[in-house]
Symmetry: C2
Subunit: 210 residues, 2 copies
């Protein structure tokens, strides 16, 4: 079955977003990351920054009180918590994007949301702490917290959010089709492996058996 939709789940700092962009460039298909945030923002009435900061975070977080209903759209949340409201819109936006045609989607539990699409290839990108710590400092600069603490906090939020909305374990290999350690393989090779898998999925089925 030809794989047309590629989802990239990733540990913070692993380079998963870069892998996704490289895959999209090499395959010549759209790349949804910020675009996804913007569309969820439009449909939810929340500011893009709020969506970006909270869409993958723990639903138990204090940020997710009902008090955060978007201005100007009273009543649209139908009694849902902010987190559940955002989740519903996120599902709907991701399902619509996948319907539009081949693309790469980064984060936002897209592997789960698109789990029933046979033309989707689900990937998970991760790396050891040292590799990720160096990357986030280079990319986002220093902060008052150690890079390790920042990584642990962000990963924990993504893990809790994933567990809450999918009932599955974040980073469990069987939730994906390909999991790659960029710390060992490098970002470029990881993108190559995913592209090759997509390209081979276009060939007629052929399998050697023992």
């Amino acid at each position: 079955m030809e794989k047309k939709i590629i989802t990239i789940s990733r540990e913070f700092g692993s380079g998963g977003r870069t892998v996704g962009r490289m895959v999209a460039d090499k395959l010549g298909i759209p790349f949804y990351d910020k675009e996804l945030v913007d569309q969820i923002a439009v449909e939810s009435g929340f500011a893009p920054k709020f969506v970006e900061e909270n869409g993958e975070h723990s639903p138990g977080s204090s940020l997710f009180s009902y008090a955060f209903a978007p201005q100007g759209v009273p009543g649209v949340m139908n009694g849902l918590s902010t987190a559940d409201f955002l989740w519903n819109i996120q599902c709907s936006v991701i399902l619509q994007l996948a319907e539009k045609g081949p693309c790469v989607i980064v984060g936002r539990n897209a592997d789960y949301i698109l789990k029933d699409r046979e033309d989707a290839l689900h990937t998970f990108i991760f790396a050891d702490m040292a590799f990720r710590a160096e990357r986030i400092v280079k990319r986002y600069g220093e902060s008052d917290k150690s890079p390790e603490t920042r990584l642990q906090e962000k990963d924990k939020r993504r893990r809790v959010n994933y567990q809450h909305y999918t009932g599955r374990t974040w980073g469990q290999a069987q939730n994906y089709n390909i999991c790659l350690d960029t710390g060992v393989l490098g970002i470029e090779q990881s993108a190559d492996i995913i592209c090759q898998a997509v390209m081979r999925s276009r060939e007629p089925a052929k399998e050697s058996e023992e």
Copy 2:
């Protein structure tokens, strides 16, 4: 860092052993599966069949009573349970094999036992239930249990054994460097991906950054 030792952890029926043999053949390096069992048998005094059936199974299994001390080697178990005794020998054999030179090692928690070797590439091979069920029936025939039950039981034993001796979660992507779904990628492509990663690890480091 050049990868010389490849460990293959695998779900039952996923074709992981075949992937391992293909990788060993393509790279021209030894393949340890049955050979590992035989060496553990020699060093432990247990029959190879006993080692094969129990070396990756739950330490709480009824098979693992102290009554199973090997004949002719009284006292060598030093008060260890059969499971712990086998585990110690398994660790020692795997560490020795890795010292001997490049190789592919299938199963037996080798990813954990060799986790500190920087020249080791750790892989996990898995597939969906339908793919694996078809394979085990083709390979091992029917039995009085459904293929799904046989898969679940065997996976559970491996999972419990892994958890008990390593404190880690079996199949959690971050324990490995590459995890591949043979149900989607196929056995041959999975072997190719691993071979390519080994061959690229021999090239001088080169990494593009965003």
